[in-house]
């Protein structure tokens, strides 16, 4: 049984929930896996802290929440402070250089990437920050094929925006792979 447990956390406008959904949907529809996605919901969605749990597995998933993620993404300092400690020992903790100062000593591979900065510099549309993050994640973990993500994006997003999303994804993948090396 292969099972990956992910938590993406950040703040309202950063699109972490969308990122979680895209990832899980890609896994289910294009890679024939099972996946669940849940989120903290509600007033929090208006600018406060947000968090989404994603489980990807080749077998059935019952309990859909992630208690100890293998992969944790924190896009704000707050979320880092809140969640860094729940990571599974040896897991991967991805943060954005701009928003998070990693301070804690954690038994995990801490990866800090300048995703936001690069997005702003190269695309100048912060809406695709989350897609860049997804790219980085895939670059690091090879969890899914990039093409699966792109197929999902094509279904969800109007044509005019596909290109910048692809660009953000590629950028992320590159950063992730490079880090891996």
């Amino acid at each position: 049984m292969k099972r990956t447990r992910l938590v993406f956390s950040g703040s309202g406008g950063q699109g972490v929930i969308t990122a979680g959904i895209i990832l899980a949907e890609a896994a289910v529809i294009y890679e024939n896996m099972n996946a669940t996605q849940t989120q903290t919901y509600g007033a929090a969605a208006r600018g406060g802290a947000t968090k989404t749990d994603v489980i990807i597995s080749d077998s059935k998933i019952y309990f859909p929440e992630v208690v100890q993620p293998n992969i944790l993404v924190c896009l704000t300092q707050d979320s880092y402070n809140n969640f860094a400690s729940i990571i599974r020992p040896g897991g991967i903790l991805l943060t954005d250089l701009r928003f998070v100062k990693t301070i804690k000593k954690i038994d995990a591979k801490q990866i800090e990437l300048p995703m936001y900065e690069n997005v702003i510099k190269q695309i100048n549309k912060k809406v695709v920050f989350n897609i860049c993050m997804l790219g980085a994640l895939i670059g690091i973990t090879r969890l899914l094929k990039p093409s699966s993500i792109i197929k999902v994006l094509k279904k969800r997003i109007s044509k005019d925006f596909i290109d910048i999303n692809k660009k953000a994804l590629d950028m992320g993948i590159k950063m992730g792979r490079e880090f891996k090396k």
Partner: protein, 272 residues
């Protein structure tokens, strides 16, 4: 006292989105109360459910956050049981006129001394942008993907027809006017209604391509005209602002005192 003395600071920053008009209504309301210098213990603010309704938690009065649409019914109980209280009821357009429409017209009919502040963003903000009875025609909403076909209420006309004795309208752009009208509404004896057009950039604005909060405020400036103003006279189709009704009909709780007098007399006669 300063405005800050009327709020519960520990709950700030509030939950409203950046640029939400409801914050401006709160701002204007606080100034109105401050200028009127009403004793905080004499004010009860009671609201239903909605983004707008959350206002009651932020102000340092007696606050009663109730259920969706029913705030005016709670208000009626509060006021009739203790007429010396000032009762303020901030409401969303859905809260006041979708589920709460009946309590609205009946409070108006009774002319009970309560102030209803309708924070009209033409959408259900709290639940994520469904259309409301105030959306009007050709509006996009999460339950109107093909644009709305429902007419909107004219709150002013409805309040008037139902019997409200003070009715006014302003916007979150016109903050000085809002403060003035709020003061008048609060001071008025009888059921007073003040509709404040209030932007929801998150849902109404985004779905209907009205731009950000600033652009929405610009629209309030552009599309409204003060009663009696030249601008309005030249463009009678603009949304009217100002006071539409202001009269001195008998107020419900005062009339009730007469019932008590009559009853006492009747009881006394029976004793003889």
């Amino acid at each position: 006292m300063s405005v800050k003395d009327y709020i519960r600071e520990r709950f700030f920053p509030h939950i409203w989105c950046p640029g939400c008009g409801h914050g401006i209504v709160l701002n204007s309301f606080l100034r109105a109360v401050e200028q009127l210098k009403i004793n905080k213990n004499k004010i009860v603010i009671t609201s239903g459910i909605g983004c707008s309704a959350r206002i009651s938690g932020y102000v340092d009065f007696h606050s009663l956050h109730t259920i969706h649409g029913r705030a005016l019914a709670f208000a009626t109980g509060l006021k009739l049981s203790k007429p010396k209280l000032k009762i303020i009821v901030p409401m969303g357009d859905g809260d006041a006129l979708a589920i709460g429409g009946n309590h609205f017209i009946h409070a108006a009919r009774r002319n009970i001394d309560v102030t209803a502040i309708i924070m009209n963003n033409r959408i259900y903000g709290m639940t994520g942008g469904q259309y409301s009875p105030l959306s009007g025609l050709n509006i996009k909403a999460s339950t109107a993907p093909f644009l709305t076909i429902e007419n909107d209420f004219n709150i002013v006309e409805l309040a008037k027809a139902a019997g409200a004795s003070f009715v006014a309208r302003t916007t979150t752009y016109h903050v000085l006017e809002a403060v003035t009208l709020l003061k008048k509404a609060i001071k008025h004896k009888g059921f007073s209604v003040i509709e404040i057009l209030s932007q929801c950039p998150t849902y109404f604005g985004r779905k209907n391509k009205k731009g950000d909060a600033c652009s929405m405020l610009e629209l309030y400036k552009k599309n409204t005209g003060k009663i009696g103003s030249k601008k309005l006279n030249n463009n009678p189709d603009l949304i009217k602002r100002g006071i539409f009704v202001n009269n001195n009909k008998p107020e419900y709780c005062e009339e009730y005192e007469k019932i008590i007098q009559k009853a006492a007399t009747a009881a006394a006669i029976r004793q003889i």
